[in-house]
Symmetry: C2
Subunit: 93 residues, 2 copies
């Protein structure tokens, strides 16, 4: 049963981690983040970092693995969104 649970966790880790990749690739390519929500990626980045700490403290491999990669991925999207918001503010001035 433990192996089965671990497998479900690793599947979940694989799915939600790879979920970020198409958005990361799309955002890096197009540099267009107009339809993306800034609060979402602010919360997502700080959230995945918190999950990473939780995973490490609980010695939970799927949680730790998933959130180490997701933190990096959500940071990249967050970075491009911030860049666009700053560029838009400069245009207004």
């Amino acid at each position: 049963m433990t192996h089965f649970i671990e497998s479900i966790g690793l599947l979940a880790a694989f799915l939600t981690t790879t979920a970020f990749f198409p958005q990361v690739i799309k955002t890096v390519k197009t540099k267009s983040t107009g339809d993306l929500s800034l609060p979402m990626y602010t919360l997502m980045f700080s959230g995945t970092v918190s999950w990473l700490i939780y995973g490490l403290l609980k010695s939970d491999l799927p949680i730790t693995l998933a959130n180490a990669i997701s933190s990096l991925a959500s940071f990249v999207i967050f970075y491009y969104k911030i860049r666009e918001v700053r560029a838009a503010k400069k245009k207004l001035v």
Copy 2:
């Protein structure tokens, strides 16, 4: 220490769960999903459902709580994205 770890988990659950809300609200309001990635939300929805099963099997409250709500939230975004993709296909025919 257990209470501390549980608190970190609940904080993480709160952050990544609320992360979906601004995007859900934005998507429901604008119905514009052009900059959103379809593979992302397909993977995110199936991933959060897998995490939900993992959380239930491990009796992990933060994981279960976070992914019950995130599954619902990512499904809403996924639904609007699918709707736009279908509408775009119809226009091409």
